[in-house]
């Protein structure tokens, strides 16, 4: 752990009091705001020792330090800053709830403001990895509790009584003996001058007394959303703003040779059109930053976008033009016949045990590239002026965005200001900030504020895709149907000797440690297509292949798929990951998984599934990711045409002892499961000659209302720290569906998206 000290005071503050507890490495600062309120600012150590998912591509030590602000006005209105980007995960409501609970104020008196990017004050600000709850739950409770304690002390001093004689409730400090009381609003200015308590030892509420945490609280932006107020990046409006589009090479990594920008400049309403060469922007050009292209800047976005019809660009398509999805599948099949290039793990002797196995099951699985298809296309508004850049950015990852902009423009990071907007869907796409670099560059070239907005085709064809993958399984069962050997050859992607982003598999992937003879081999194909994290990175694909193949084994063993999985899980214990060092993201608690599996079997009437009509089936799967244990059952019916109808989904989750906001939690779990089903049924990105074939929602089909089944969600409360919900509900739903289709039709789904034609009878 390291000591973190806030580097600068708020410009609007006066009379700061600081306290520093070196033993606990917590720094807290209180000050009186210009308006007379209390400002509490804290920088906290990593109280939860978990590594950030590699999806974030950020140093772990940065990711663990957090911060929050509380401002109390004299009228008792409490303003709580929400530090992280809001992408629909409900963070802007949920984190302030945690602070408000321990502060002991009424939720109706809380106002929430989106914090700007200020990692010196707030620590890492990002939306990713379902990490906000595990990283912030305990620290932000302490921030609220510390503020409450300062308010109590202020009251006690005013009355010359012992703080222990005072209690708080709903934003008021009471002294019962004398019957006196003072509101937080009246006490705030005085409280701000008092020493700050040690966050590590500040008393916290008994969770049994919670009044805000655990209540279903609607989103703080709901009214603005429902009345059409500007909130999102695309809604930003800056005086004298111009609008831009940016045409990039359809082939990844292609470079621009020439373009008819003079023709475009002459079009009515077009302000400017110019060539962008990534190499000119920054000699160390970031592959996640600016690329070659043509910027068209106009007085309206529609004019800029329409001007593309007249655009003629000569590209040097480069080497990636030789790559295609068909070629990858062919190469993967070839590689599957060879020994893996490397092994993630080799336990026992797979080859020998397969020879003696009563049954050997072999299967090849594959899944496609996927686009994130957030409904709000990528956009960013930038204003470069006098060597400084201001960006209004719908980004999940503003810190690296600011760094990228600084590098692209060749200015110090301290001259980049990032204002976070609400975001119309993230799903991991906006962890990359290419759109920020583009907007900043274009604004600098035209010398005016510019809103860059991609159209849907840009968005679908210039993503950081969920990597495709190929898995070749072989497993052996003994006479009793027990798994004695398990082998997986993963054919994945890389570039220049490194695995592609989000294309890795963990050595601890289930059923590692549960089968005595087990090996995970890996071979890598060269890829020029950019990849990145998509909701439940890696797990969204690995859940499908592993939980589907395990279903094949259950079938071959002649066992109930739930019973088979319970037998595989075995007794209740924690399987410590292969490094031997505790790591909550990788250590697997078989007991927690058994419990969610048993519960989902119960609520889905699993044992009665044989009574279902013909061509209707139930499938089960479980998956552990992002610290959450999820077991899910899908019931699906398959028409003679092959058309798949989703009948019902049952989900049981264990994300620890506390659901902070049950309304948001249920919404996340239902949404994640439906998201997975939508991807499995209708989504693929196909690469042909180095470019993406699909361009809109006709060819990449998001789930729609008529497809949506009831989704029942149950949370098991267990004595573990609360963990996140944006992602872990997604992975098991896809294999549960595929296993349901097998139960209904006898046909195994080994490739996504599901080919309904193949299910026709």
């Amino acid at each position: 752990m390291r000591t973190i000290i806030a580097k600068r005071a708020r410009a609007s503050t006066t009379g700061a009091v600081t306290s520093f507890s070196s033993s606990r490495r917590i720094f807290l600062k209180a000050s009186v705001t210009a308006g007379g309120g209390l400002l509490l600012q804290a920088v906290l150590p990593p109280l939860v020792q978990v590594a950030i998912a590699d999806a974030l591509a950020a140093p772990a030590d940065q990711a663990a330090s957090l911060n929050a602000y509380i401002r109390i006005a004299p009228d008792g209105i409490v303003t709580i800053m929400s530090k992280n980007p809001e992408i629909g995960q409900g963070i802007k409501t949920m984190l302030p709830m945690v602070i408000a609970e321990e502060l002991d104020v009424e939720w109706k008196n809380v106002r929430v403001e989106q914090a700007p990017l200020d990692e010196a004050s707030f620590g890492r600000q990002f939306a990713g990895g379902s990490m906000a709850t595990p990283l912030n739950y305990d620290p932000l409770r302490r921030v609220g509790a510390a503020a409450r304690q300062m308010l109590v002390l202020a009251a006690a001093q005013s009355w010359s009584v012992a703080p222990a004689e005072c209690r708080t409730g709903a934003g008021v400090v009471y002294h019962q003996k004398s019957g006196r009381s003072l509101s937080f609003g009246a006490l705030a200015a005085k409280a701000a001058t008092l020493p700050v308590p040690d966050l590590a030892t500040v008393p916290l509420k008994d969770p049994k007394t919670f009044e805000i945490i655990g209540q279903p609280i609607p989103g703080v932006d709901n009214e603005k959303i429902m009345t059409g107020r500007p909130l999102f990046g695309i809604d930003v409006d800056v005086p004298d703003m111009l609008y831009a589009v940016f045409q990039k090479c359809p082939v990844f990594g292609g470079s621009l040779m020439s373009a008819n920008v003079d023709t475009l400049k002459a079009l009515p309403g077009v302000h400017d059109a110019f060539i962008v060469k990534a190499s000119e922007a920054n000699p160390n050009s970031d592959p996640q930053g600016l690329s070659d292209g043509v910027a068209i800047v106009a007085k309206s976005w529609w004019i800029a976008d329409k001007a593309r019809e007249k655009l003629e660009i000569q590209w040097d398509e480069g080497p990636v033009a030789a790559q295609s999805s068909v070629g990858f599948a062919h190469d993967a099949a070839t590689l599957s016949q060879q020994v893996p290039v490397s092994y993630l793990r080799r336990d026992g002797d797979v080859a020998a045990s397969l020879k003696h196995a009563a049954h050997v099951v072999e299967a090849g699985y594959s899944y496609p590239f996927l686009s994130h298809i957030a409904l709000e296309p990528q956009n960013c508004t930038a204003h470069f002026q006098d060597g400084r850049a201001v960006l209004w950015a719908p980004t999940q990852n503003p810190g690296p965005g600011a760094k990228l902009v600084a590098a692209t423009l060749g200015i110090p990071e301290s001259d980049v200001t990032v204002k976070m907007t609400r975001i119309g869907g993230g799903f991991g796409r906006r962890l990359r900030n290419d759109f920020m670099a583009e907007a900043a560059w274009i604004s600098k070239q035209v010398g005016a504020p510019v809103k860059l907005l991609w159209n849907r085709q840009d968005d679908m064809r210039h993503d950081f895709y969920r990597p495709a993958g190929f898995h070749f399984f072989k497993a052996g069962l003994d006479d009793d149907g027990k798994v004695v050997a398990f082998s997986n050859h993963f054919v994945t992607f890389g570039r220049n000797g490194k695995l592609a982003d989000s294309a890795a598999m963990d050595a601890n992937e289930f059923p590692a440690q549960l089968v005595p003879n087990l090996e995970y081999g890996q071979s890598v194909m060269e890829l020029g297509v950019p990849t990145g994290p998509l909701r439940a990175p890696r797990s969204n694909a690995l859940g499908f292949v592993f939980q589907s193949f395990i279903d094949e084994l259950a079938d071959r063993a002649g066992k109930d798929p739930v019973e088979f999985r319970l037998a595989l899980l075995g007794e209740r214990r924690v399987l410590v990951n292969s490094t031997g060092k505790p790591d909550a993201l990788r250590d697997f608690d078989t007991g927690r998984m058994r419990d969610v599996l048993l519960e989902v079997a119960e609520i889905s009437d699993w044992s009665d599934r044989h009574a279902l009509p013909k061509r209707t089936g139930k499938g089960v799967a479980f998956y552990f990711s992002h610290l959450g244990y999820f077991a899910e059952v899908v019931q699906a019916s398959v028409a003679s045409s092959g058309e798949i109808k989703l009948d019902h989904v049952w989900i049981v989750a264990d994300v620890g002892r506390q659901i902070v906001n049950p309304s948001g939690a249920e919404n996340q779990v239902q949404g994640a499961a439906l998201d997975g089903l939508g991807a499995a049924l209708g989504q693929a990105i196909t690469i042909d000659r180095g470019r993406v074939v699909q361009s809109n929602f006709d060819s990449v089909r998001p789930l729609r209302m008529k497809q949506v089944p009831p989704v029942e969600v149950r949370f098991l409360t267990t004595d573990h720290p609360p963990t996140g919900l944006g992602e872990p509900a997604l992975p098991p739903v896809i294999p549960a569906l595929c296993n349901a289709i097998f139960a209904a039709t006898g046909k195994r789904i080994r490739s996504l998206p599901i080919d309904a034609e193949a299910l026709r009878i």
């Binding site: 995960q89 609280i217 989103g219 709901n222 609008y243 119309g424 239902q670 998001p702």
Partner: protein, 158 residues
């Protein structure tokens, strides 16, 4: 070219090309940001507005085709008895996740319930299936529509 259209019961004049889609007139000329851009070809419903009470995709509706039709957007729904109820229920049931599609969802639902106060499940699905919610808040969208329909029923019974 100059066009005068009625938006949320107010006459507005804009000077733009005839083929500029209504969505961009609303968003960039009239600064009504509630209607959203999603796909640009009428597939996602994020841009849904009403023309004389009929839900249309404003991203593929040229300004020149609007004529004298009354345009209503999400910003005007507080003045629509059905739209207002839906907005309220959407808040009470905490429907949104990211929220980007919800204006379009409410516009489609408002047309549905105005024309058919008691839609059955199939009718709800048929209308609402044109509106994509990428966060998949469909369960709550359906619940909110049903609840408003039931409020209608209760009012009628009284």
């Amino acid at each position: 070219m100059s066009y005068t259209i009625e938006v949320n019961r107010v006459k507005r004049t804009v000077d733009v090309d005839a083929d500029m889609p209504l969505l961009w007139v609303l968003r960039d000329e009239l600064k009504l940001k509630g209607s959203k851009f999603g796909c640009g070809i009428g597939l996602c419903g994020a841009c849904t507005v009403h023309l004389d009470g009929k839900a249309v995709r404003s991203c593929i509706t040229p300004l020149s085709s609007v004529g004298s039709a009354a345009v209503a957007t999400i910003e005007g729904m507080a003045a629509d008895p059905v739209g207002k109820k839906l907005q309220r229920l959407w808040m009470d049931l905490d429907v949104p996740q990211c929220g980007y599609c919800q204006a379009g969802q409410i516009m489609s639902a408002t047309e549905l319930l105005t024309k058919n106060p008691h839609p059955n499940d199939d009718e709800i699905d048929a209308t609402m299936t044109g509106n994509v919610c990428r966060c998949c808040t469909y369960t709550r969208i359906r619940a909110a529509i049903k609840k408003v329909a039931n409020l209608h029923s209760a009012a009628v019974e009284r």
